[in-house]
Symmetry: C2
Subunit: 488 residues, 2 copies
C-alpha cells in the first residue's frame, strides 16, 4: 500500500527524533514519525535519568560516613532499602518518560509504531515487505542505539543485565559484577556499591570513565577503589555455576587469573547504533566496516542525499545534548531549500561519579597528538582545598591545558568535587576561546570550589610564555594580572 507523499519522515522517537520533530513541526504538517520499540527516549527510560536517580540515592546514603565528623550522631542506624530505592527510581522515571510520551501521543495518526526500513533515499516501508510504503522529500534517521550484549552472555539468562533491564529489577545482588568501566559502568558500579552491594568492576583498559590524563585517571581510580573492587585485565568471560538441581546459583567472572562469583552481572561495554535493519544499503552510498554511511556532522546529511542521520545512531558524540543538537540540525536541514552547516558545540563529557569526572574541550590525549603544540598543564589537588575540606569532599584533581604561546585554554580533565559545575565553567571559557589570564580575570568568590580551579589556572599562568604574561600585567593594567599572581 502506498501513501501520499510527505515533506519529511522521521524514524525514531528518541531524544534526537523528538528534537528533529520540533523543527519539522515549525515548517510543515506533512510528516510522520515512525518508532520501533518503547517510547519515552533512551535518556528518560534507561539512561541519564534513572542512573541519576540511583546515584542521588546512593550519594545521600553514602554521606553517612561524614556525619560523625560533622558532629551528627546515629549514622550507624541508617540502612539502604534497595527495593525502595528502585521503586522511587521507577516512579520518577515513569514521570520523566510520560513527559516525553506526551509529545508523540499528541501527534495522533502522524505517530506510527513500527519498524521502518529504507527502500531508497525518499522511500520507507513499515513493518516488513508487505507493509505500508511512505514517500517523503526527505528522511531523518534517528533510530538510536542499544547496549552491546554478546549473544553468549545473553544466553546465560536473566542474571545478565544491561541498562535496559537493570532498573526493572525488584532488588539486586548482594554480589554484582560490572563489566566495562566507561562512563556508564563507573557511575553504576559506584552507585550500586554505595547502596550496599558487593561490587567488582572489570575493565580491559586502565582508562576509566573516558579520561585520558594519567593523574586525573589515578584520582578517579583511587576514588572508585574506596567504594568497590576494580580489576583491570583480559576481557572477562562469564560462566554459570549450577546449583545442583538444574538451576544456577551464580555467575563466575574470569579475567586472566582473577575469579569472582556474583549474583548479577551488569554488562556496560558500550552501546551500538541500531542501523542493521534500516536498509542503509538501499541509499547507494558506501558504508564503513561498522555499516555506517558517511555523515557530515555540521549538516547531519548522508552524502548528498535528502537523508539525515542524528543522535546516538551516528555515534559521533553519543550524549543527550549532542543528540538533541543533531536532531535540530537534521530537522532544520530536512526542510531547508539548501542544506546549511551548523557549528557544533565545545565538547563536554561528564561522568556523575563522586567526585565527578569530566573531559572539557580537547582531551589531553588529543592535545598531545598535536606535535606542533607546546602544552602547559596547570593542576590542583583538592586534598588541601579549603571549601572541599569544610564539606569533607577534599578528594580529586583538576588539570587544565593551555597553549604556551597564546595562553589560550584548550581543554581540561577533572575528577573533582562539584566537577559537573566546574566543567560547565571551563566549557564556557573554552567555547569563548579565552586565555588563562582572561579566565583569571573573573571573580572567584570565597570560600568556593571554583578557587581550586583558580589554583590550577594560576599554576598554568606561571608556565606561560613570560613575555605574554608581562604584557597582560603591565600594559593592559587590569585585575587579570592580580588574579594570576595572587596568593591562594
Amino acid at each position: 500500500m502506498d501513501t501520499p507523499s510527505l515533506d519529511t519522515l522521521i524514524i525514531g522517537a528518541g531524544s534526537a527524533g523528538l528534537a528533529a520533530l520540533r523543527e519539522v513541526r515549525k515548517r510543515t504538517e506533512r510528516f510522520v514519525l515512525i518508532n520501533d520499540g518503547p517510547y519515552g527516549t533512551t535518556c528518560a527510560r534507561v539512561g541519564c535519568m534513572p542512573s541519576k536517580l540511583l546515584i542521588e540515592a546512593a550519594n545521600a546514603y553514602h554521606q553517612r560516613h561524614t556525619l560523625g565528623e560533622f558532629g551528627i550522631t546515629g549514622a550507624d542506624g541508617l540502612a539502604a532499602d534497595l527495593p525502595a530505592v528502585l521503586r522511587r527510581l521507577r516512579r520518577l522515571r515513569d514521570d520523566f518518560v510520560a513527559g516525553a510520551r506526551q509529545i508523540t501521543d499528541a501527534l495522533g495518526a502522524r505517530s506510527i509504531a513500527g519498524r521502518a526500513r529504507l527502500l531508497g533515499p525518499q522511500q520507507v516501508q513499515v513493518n516488513g515487505t508487505s507493509g505500508t510504503i511512505y514517500h517523503a522529500k526527505s528522511i531523518i534517521l534517528a533510530p538510536g542505539s542499544k547496549p552491546v550484549l554478546p549473544p553468549e552472555w545473553r544466553a546465560l539468562g536473566d542474571r545478565i543485565l544491561t541498562t535496559d533491564t537493570l532498573f526493572e529489577q525488584a532488588t539486586l545482588g548482594p554480589r554484582i559484577a560490572v563489566i566495562g568501566l566507561g562512563p556508564v559502568g563507573v557511575e553504576l558500579a559506584q552507585a550500586l556499591a554505595r547502596l550496599g552491594l558487593q561490587v567488582t568492576g572489570y575493565a580491559t583498559s586502565e582508562w576509566l570513565g573516558g579520561l585520558s590524563d594519567p593523574a586525573v585517571n589515578t584520582s578517579l581510580h583511587e576514588a572508585l577503589a574506596r567504594d568497590f573492587s576494580l580489576h583491570t585485565g583480559p576481557a572477562a568471560t562469564l560462566h554459570t555455576i549450577p546449583d545442583g538441581s538444574g538451576g544456577i546459583s551464580g555467575i563466575e567472572v574470569r579475567s586472566g587469573e582473577h575469579r569472582s562469583v556474583v549474583d548479577h552481572v551488569l554488562v556496560a561495554i558500550g552501546r551500538r547504533p541500531q542501523l542493521a535493519c534500516l536498509g542503509l544499503d538501499t541509499l547507494g552510498v558506501a558504508l564503513d566496516d561498522k555499516g555506517m554511511p558517511p555523515v557530515n556532522p555540521q549538516t547531519m546529511q548522508i552524502a548528498n542525499l535528502p537523508v539525515y542521520l542524528a543522535g546516538d545512531a551516528h555515534n559521533h558524540r553519543p550524549l543527550l545534548h549532542e543528540a538533541a543538537d543533531e536532531g535540530h540540525i537534521a530537522g532544520m536541514n530536512a526542510l531547508a531549500p539548501a542544506t546549511r552547516c551548523y557549528q557544533r558545540r565545545t565538547p563536554l563529557a561528564i561522568v556523575f561519579s563522586d567526585p565527578n569526572a569530566a573531559v572539557i574541550g580537547q582531551s589531553l590525549r588529543a592535545l598531545q597528538a598535536q606535535s606542533d603544540l607546546v602544552l602547559v598543564t596547570g593542576s590542583i589537588d583538592f586534598a588541601r582545598q579549603g571549601r572541599a575540606r569544610a564539606s569533607q569532599h577534599h578528594h580529586g584533581r583538576l588539570n587544565v591545558y593551555a597553549d604556551q604561546t597564546s595562553g589560550r585554554l584548550l581543554g581540561a580533565e577533572l575528577c573533582a568535587p562539584a566537577g559537573e559545575h566546574l566543567a560547565h565553567l571551563l566549557a564556557l571559557a573554552i567555547d569563548q576561546q579565552l586565555t588563562v589570564g582572561q579566565l583569571l580575570g573573573m571573580p572567584f568568590y570565597h570560600p568556593v570550589l571554583e578557587e581550586g580551579l583558580r589554583t590550577a589556572l594560576r599554576d598554568a599562568a606561571r608556565q606561560l610564555d613570560p613575555a605574554r604574561t608581562s604584557v597582560q600585567a603591565s600594559d593592559l593594567a587590569t585585575c587579570d594580572a592580580i588574579g594570576a599572581e595572587a596568593l591562594d
Copy 2:
C-alpha cells in the same frame, strides 16, 4: 622614638593587608606590618570559614529529611550534637587561622603587634602618644571592620552574640534570635535552625540576603521560612528577663507587637570599618559623615596622597575576594613610581543559604534605575527541573536580566540549587560581556542544574529584539540559534 624611614608600612594583617604584603615583598624589604588585635584574618577567624563549617554540618544533618524518600531508613535516629559541631568547627578554623598566621610569624621584627595611628600621610605612631614613630614613603591602611553591636545591647551581657563570639560558644540556645537578615544573618539563622535550635529571625527590611528581585526574594523567604520563623517589622529592642535571683533567665525581643523570649541573641546588623582611631584627620582631606576619606576604587589611593585604603575598611565591596584585590592594588601602587588604575572585577555576591542566593553583575534594582534601558527578564522556577527533582533540591528561582536591544546579559539574581556554581558561570558570561545567544551557544550537559539556567536564558531570548534574534538564527548559522529555540 623615631625609626629609619621605610618604603611602605601596612596597617592591618587581615586578608587585604596580607594581599598587600604579598605585593610589597616582591618590591622591597623595607616595610613593617602593624596589626592591632587578633591575627589570622576576619575571614578565617570569624567570617567565611567558620560560617561555612557550621553550614556544611547543618546541611549534612538537614539532608535526613530526604532520606526516606530516597529509600534510606533510620533517619529518625540521627541527632545533631551541637557542642561537637562547634568543636569540629573550631578545630578546622584553627587550622585555617594557623595558615594565615604563618605568614606574619615569618616576618620576625617586621611584624608588629600594636595600635597604629597616623600622624600624617607618611608617619605612623604605634601604641599611643609615647609610642614609636615610623616614617614611610607610603602607607597602606587595611584595618578591617568589626560587627556593629549597639552599646545598650552589649551591656546586656554574654547572651548577646556577634560573629566575634558566636563560634566560641560551647553550646547555644535552645532558643536564639538572629537580628538582621542580610547575607550573614540569613546564613547563620538557617544553619542554626537546621542544627536543631529554635530560631527567630528579625529584619527591618523585606529584602533578604542582599537580593533586590521580588520574585527571587520571595523564593528565598519561602526557603528560609521552612527552617525558621522570620519576622519583618520595626527595629527590634532587647530586654533582659530577670530570673528572680539576681540573674537573667532570657532575653525578650520586641519588634512592634511581636514578642519572643530567647536564650541567645545573634546580632548580625552589619560590620563597621575600624577607622575611628586611625588618625585619618591628620591626612588633610575631607572625611564624609561616616569618617571615610575619598578613595579611588581603581587605585585604592586616598585623594592624591601616598596613602592607600584596602579591604573591608573601605566598605566598597566588603567581600573576601574584593578585599584581596584591593590589597594587591594597594600593594602595587604603594611602591609604584606612578599610581596606576586597575579594572575591578564583575560584581559577585553569594549567600551560602540552601538554596544558595546570589547577585551577579548588576542587581535588578540597579538596572531598573537606568531609565534608558529596556530590560528583559528570563526566569526559571526549579520546582519542575529534572535534575533538581532527582536530588530533591527542586526549590528556587533564577532570573537573568538582559538588554533587549543588544541582547547582552547584564545581571542575574538567584535563589537556586547549586546557586554558588551557577553564579560563577553567570559571572564569567557577564565579565565577558556575552549576549544571551552567545551563552546559549555553550554546551549544557544533561541532566544538570545548568539546564535550569538555560531555561531562563531561553525565556529571555524569546523576549529579545526579534530582528536581532533572527540575525543570529539565519545569518550566523551557528548552534546558538539551536540552543535558543530548542525544547527544554
